[in-house]
Symmetry: D2
Subunit: 379 residues, 4 copies
């Protein structure tokens, strides 16, 4: 059977992780149709070629448009900074290629809307699009959603989400495109807060009505690696309070200044029948409190999410032999291939990515207006 | 030397804990002047007498005014519901008695202001007043303040505080005075949120400028133990975002619906040089991250706060033989006795209690106004 | 009703903790007959008087025999070093006084046998004796036993027990009577290992058949506080493997050189239907794994042992307001008073204390014989 | 440059993990000479072919001898049950192929000795051999060794190691070759206990003098998947006490009946200057206690071993984005390739594998002789 050719656009951190996923997916999850790492596109031809050799892609180019239009490319995987997502994704969808686009979907709501429109049109022609909110595919979080759907928490009353990092904690940490509003769209809010917003819609199957927010930039001038001073134009930390449509009270925080926390996605979800607690720094564990247990033996139980009957786990190692960060990307590739094969829409699609973008915009609007409750726009 | 006579007003949960503290303080912490448990006041004479016998108080009365005016009473310890604090405290201070008043100081800002005025006048006559924000005296939190004062955290950028309980989680949990706005002033916000507000000013030595808040009442009708239906007129959960005067970004949550959390005061404080993390459910531990350590060996260290050189610990047991909830009340009594002996003001005084009340009011105002940033009133 | 008079012999660490228990027990646990702290006996009259004042005992003496024979003394509480236990306990029992004796019961099996004989004779006259293995009364461990008795673990296959401290870790830590075989009987093995041996018989309701052991003394010369050099004649660490009569495989370790562990009693008990895990450094928690749960949601659950329906807890504070080290001593006093009132034998009695002594002896014998399996003597 | 061809013998659990490592190593760790997955050998030709396709090996065979002798094969990777290790390894070494052999090295000391002799001879011809004790390459454990070598623990006094699993916990779990002494050599002792023995020599750079042991078989009859009853001829659990040559007191346990523990390699190592604690179920963390810190701020610190300056980490993801079980196998392949390139001996070699085998034999001898101390044979 003819292989599915993939074009990877971008070969920095995300490109490397996605490469590992594309190399691994067919070896761990059986798929009828093989995957081929056809071409890697970058901005510089020589560096793209070197990256292709290192990461295992056949061809290399400095022209993403060319890569996207190739006949032997069926999937376009976008791993570039946010300001180029819309152009690449729309071009690829129009060319009839399935698209996997890193998050956040775009840098503005307008771009995200255009992408969602393009994705809608492409869908009619059987072309799939997917937003790369990978943490949905950490088995502990997939299990969390299952437990919520099975009503193990009852009515969900409170949703708390924090994404804590500390890489900007050092005032001498260098300036990068991630601190530039024009390229990144937003700071902690867009980069990691977007994951929390997506996890909210994923885990609860519900969307936010509105938000009340504050943003902070603790260090507003930094230096690029070459010594040039630069203005930080994004948030270092974002906090907001919100309500889900179904009434759940929610709090969110994204910070790049949480000393000692490296990639701590911390969730605690409380319902009338139980609660869940999670920290990505212990990504193979999910804590579950079953409030229907007798009080004498009730307690948060630490589920080691490595059993064969846990999501995605049957394909991997025996119980107790934990997974790492990159595995969620392999699961993402697996789910996309499955959707393509089955002719169904993978989740999250661009519409869910657009929703995340709208929440980000509402957060910024609220923060600019003394924290007043700001509704989330709907189309 | 003539003993210091104590009058205890109220003999429910708080009265019982305070009794244990008054029994213990002189046996563990050496004080020149002995303490006498002189009289216990309640609303019903027979029940007060029974409580006095059980808890070890000499006399009993159903007339707190009489107790407060006795010549052999030097300290009045107020453990009643919030709506009677002002009357008792002001009467006691005017009668020249030192006052220890349970938190929150009052049910309204107006009451708290009157109390602070009375405390100010009494101070001029050498009469002391103290608000019962006991968690300051959990050794791990006293140590936390020391570390912050020693600049181990550098500039404090973020302060996060949650007080999670789940005793209302059961929709059939009975109605009590704590759910009645008239008697309790506020719900989770006043009862446990007040501790967080106080811990903020205690740990950071700073006060909040303003807040942006939401309140939630998840179950608004309950039944009294006798079956009478009653309206819940207070919040079940309160969340708010705030800024300290010095710029620290802060988030607060108090909830009585956090399934599985019994008395979880969870703090995480991030600074430029380090961070602290605490959970009262492991009250003998403080986690400290020293960001000045080489990254290869940096990590949150779990300090078991039971060493002789930790606050209050020299008086107790050897290292590793942890303390419990009630010990902070013994420390509180010890600190009050020390202040009385030394002729200094114990902390927190009624002014700090008034500040907490003002924050509570601002939170309610903000929540009633779509979360808009609401400044904290100053006198 | 005439109060029960208590004579306390010894007023060092244990005497102070027992005093706190005797002060507290009647205030927290209702007993018909009040308890009186009648007399404190020490080796020096002036120091005994000072201790009595500080700790709240009416009389003081430097003659324990006199104290033990007083008509107004009904309970003798022995808190002296191990080499005087037998004399005091036997004299008290012969005088018809109930005896609570600190652990380990004695310094030799011969002494412990004599004490058990005396306890047996006294029992016939309604006189009670109790060995002070207090950790049985930490609520989490009392709950552990309940769960085992309720068959929640099924057949118990493995029992692992460690008691880790580090107070000798510093080679300059001073010499004390605890390092002198003549006075202490044994080192870590007797002082803390004895608790583990008792917890084994308590939790499993079973006794050891024999042991295979090694002892280590890492620092064999130290200096007394006055500078005199002294030979360490006890073990610094003891490890042994054993089998319970019912077939459970067991491992034990007691160490005073476990850097960073202050009073870590660590248990892990595995059965065919579940497992329990405990660490005294988090004494309000018990971890329970229910192997009958579906594997998808099974996990060690952290039971916060502070609920009203947990052992001893109804008498204390609301859920989540944890207890400390000393509370187990109050429970011990409560259980002794209950047994005296009911005319039943408190547990553990001197026979159980004698068993512990025999295991200690077998451990020492095995260690002296290249670790060969050494059976536990029976009478 | 001509690629290094690898022959994989065996394609069950270990073969699958090794395949993932060989696929990944060159993409993550730069090596001048590429690696080729040349041939996969199994016992059944059809199943081998299927496995080769699935796991990404070019050729397949049911004749390992043929595979081993191919000119385009330079490395033989042995992932078969223990009883075939010696034959394959010796044949490969004699054919001049580098060998990576899964642990335990063999099923008997005699086999292991023959393998070590063959490895010694091969070494003289520049042919390398390596025993697959992969856990050395979990970054947290590599870091542990670094800290010990840097004297951060001072003199190591105690070494405690447990390897807890529960897959035999269910009495209806099926019989497999791992429960057959003839094929597996030993039970928990050989399978997982061997890792602990290796970690001892790796972390401490020291070997055991002798052991005192007990073995247990809790369920001695099981059924094969086809229903045939079979006798369990290996241990279900092994416990032993030992001394390292340098004086460190050591305890070991391997169990397949520890309910709730899935792959818990638990270490605690205490020295005069500090301590380390580790649990593989949280494999990205190492706990370190620095006893030279002031007691007021000392505590076990949880090092998240995901920093660029931690072992192997620079090649992977940013801090906080943890690794999984399989990564240690990629590190193993990387270290073997480096040794081959550099012309040095990789560690652990077959001599270290032979030492592990000798300890296993001594444990079995001691257990058969009432636990008496049994010295470890030396050549």
């Amino acid at each position: 059977m003819q292989p599915l050719g993939v074009a990877l656009v971008g070969h920095a951190f995300m490109g490397r992780v996605h490469s590992q996923a594309w190399r691994t997916v067919g070896r761990v999850f059986p798929h009828e149709r093989p995957v081929e790492r056809t071409v890697l596109a970058g901005v510089d031809a020589a560096r793209a070629r070197r990256a292709a050799d290192e990461l295992g892609w056949r061809d290399a180019t400095d022209n993403w448009k060319e890569a996207v239009l190739r006949d032997d490319v069926h999937i376009v995987d976008i791993c570039t900074p946010g300001d180029s997502h819309a152009d690449i994704a729309i071009a690829a969808l129009e060319a009839g290629k399935h698209v996997l686009c890193e998050k956040p979907l775009a840098t503005t709501v307008a771009e995200a809307e255009a992408m969602a429109v393009a994705a809608g049109r492409a869908r009619e022609r059987g072309v799939r699009s997917m937003a790369g909110f990978t943490y949905r595919r950490v088995p502990a979080l997939t299990l969390a959603r299952q437990l919520i759907q099975e009503d193990r928490l009852g009515r969900v009353l409170q949703f708390r989400a924090r994404y804590l990092q500390d890489w900007l904690h050092d005032p001498d940490a260098p300036f990068s495109w991630r601190l530039d509003r024009a390229r990144a769209g937003a700071g902690a809010l867009g980069d990691t807060g977007s994951h929390l917003i997506d996890l909210g819609q994923y885990l609860l199957g519900d969307t936010l009505d509105g938000v009340s927010a504050q943003l902070a930039t603790f260090v507003d001038r930094r230096h690029a690696p070459d010594g040039t001073p630069a203005q930080v134009t994004v948030d270092d930390a974002a906090v907001f309070i919100a309500r889900f449509g179904g009434g759940t009270l929610a709090t969110f925080e994204a910070s790049r200044f949480a000393a000692g926390r490296k990639n701590a996605i911390q969730l605690e979800i409380s319902g009338t029948k139980g609660a869940l607690s999670f920290d990505f720094e212990s990504m193979n564990e999910l804590s579950f409190y079953d409030a229907t247990e007798p009080s004498g033996t009730a307690g948060f139980r630490r589920i080691l999410v490595t059993e064969p009957d846990h999501p995605y786990l049957r394909a991997w190692w025996p119980a107790g032999h934990g997974l790492g960060y990159e595995h969620a990307f392999t699961h993402q590739a697996h789910d996309l291939l499955t959707a393509i094969h089955d002719g169904t829409d993978p989740a999250p699609g661009f519409e869910e990515g657009l929703y995340v973008q709208r929440v980000i915009e509402a957060v910024e609007t609220s923060a600019a207006n003394a924290g007043v409750h700001t509704p989330i726009a709907t189309s």
